[in-house]
Symmetry: C2
Subunit: 197 residues, 2 copies
Amino acid sequence: MSKGTEDLDNLIALMAKLPGLGPRSAQRAVLHLIKKRSLLLIPLAEAMHRVGSTARDCLNCGNICTQDICDICQSEKRRNGQVCIVEDVADLWAMERSQVFKGRYHVLGGTLSALDAVGPDELRIPKLLDRIVSEEITEVILALGATIDGQTTAHYIADQLPGVTVTSLAQGVPVGGELDYLDDGTITAALNARKAL
Amino acid sequence: MSKGTEDLDNLIALMAKLPGLGPRSAQRAVLHLIKKRSLLLIPLAEAMHRVGSTARDCLNCGNICTQDICDICQSEKRRNGQVCIVEDVADLWAMERSQVFKGRYHVLGGTLSALDAVGPDELRIPKLLDRIVSEEITEVILALGATIDGQTTAHYIADQLPGVTVTSLAQGVPVGGELDYLDDGTITAALNARKAL
Ligand SMILES: [Zn+2]
Ligand SMILES: [Zn+2]
């Protein structure tokens, strides 16, 4: 194959690796990008390059940001003393979309898993225990998936935190469901109906 | 809002403009990109940049390529004398996916439309008439959508080409349907059952 379509084929193949796009929708997306070259293709290339060189994990909570400490951790408008624990950044963003939670977050980076040999030190659990003390946290809200590993992790964390109120999202999280796919209303209901463990 | 999430929000907003992605799937795609930074995000930024600076219309047929003349127009393996006329590049790519057509293409860049004031000179029709002579084309296959404008365009082109066999894709193109969304089998059937206008 000549140089003629190599760049295009390469771009289509890469786009097809995005979640939600397949080979054919990747072709459509690439044609759309070329039609909107200055409005979309070039800005998107630049935005990706920028995020690729600046995105990193917040040193405090594990959220993705472009500084050492993320906006949420830095914000003076967020409630202190209350931290919501999520498995990953997608779940944090899902919580934020519901706009109902005003405290801070802590991203574990997964769940405990005997099968996958994920222990507390593989997750951001030691840092959580530090924060409980340093940020004088009085309530921990567990927003973990309703999976076996999620619930194992929830109970493990609750056991580590005597003297702290530990609640968990209750109503609305479907069994086996992933938080990131829930609608905002369900997340709001689950947060409002949180129950003590 | 501080610099913290500006780059990320910008990237998500741009990704959400891609066909097939919405705001939420754009968030998921961006998280996926950041997780696969060196395997996907950086290569994708570079591929977009490259395509953004090199992609252009083939001077002969209107296909998108990165040279003056596209691979298909240059190929010695494609059949001469037979040209398939499509509305846009997405339709050309859909034809190519079916792998049944071995001739050349001509991309009109749209259809004639009284409503939108699109006349023959707004499309790549003058260039088509040149090619009929210069490339000694004996058969024109019209692969235009089964819309009113598509059929108007088909008849207009057929009228311009006395002495040339003009056929059109027949069986399988749904009324009001767009070629780009057809499966390969339907395109193959439609090409094989093409009928003289
Ligand atoms: Zn943070
Ligand atoms: Zn060409």
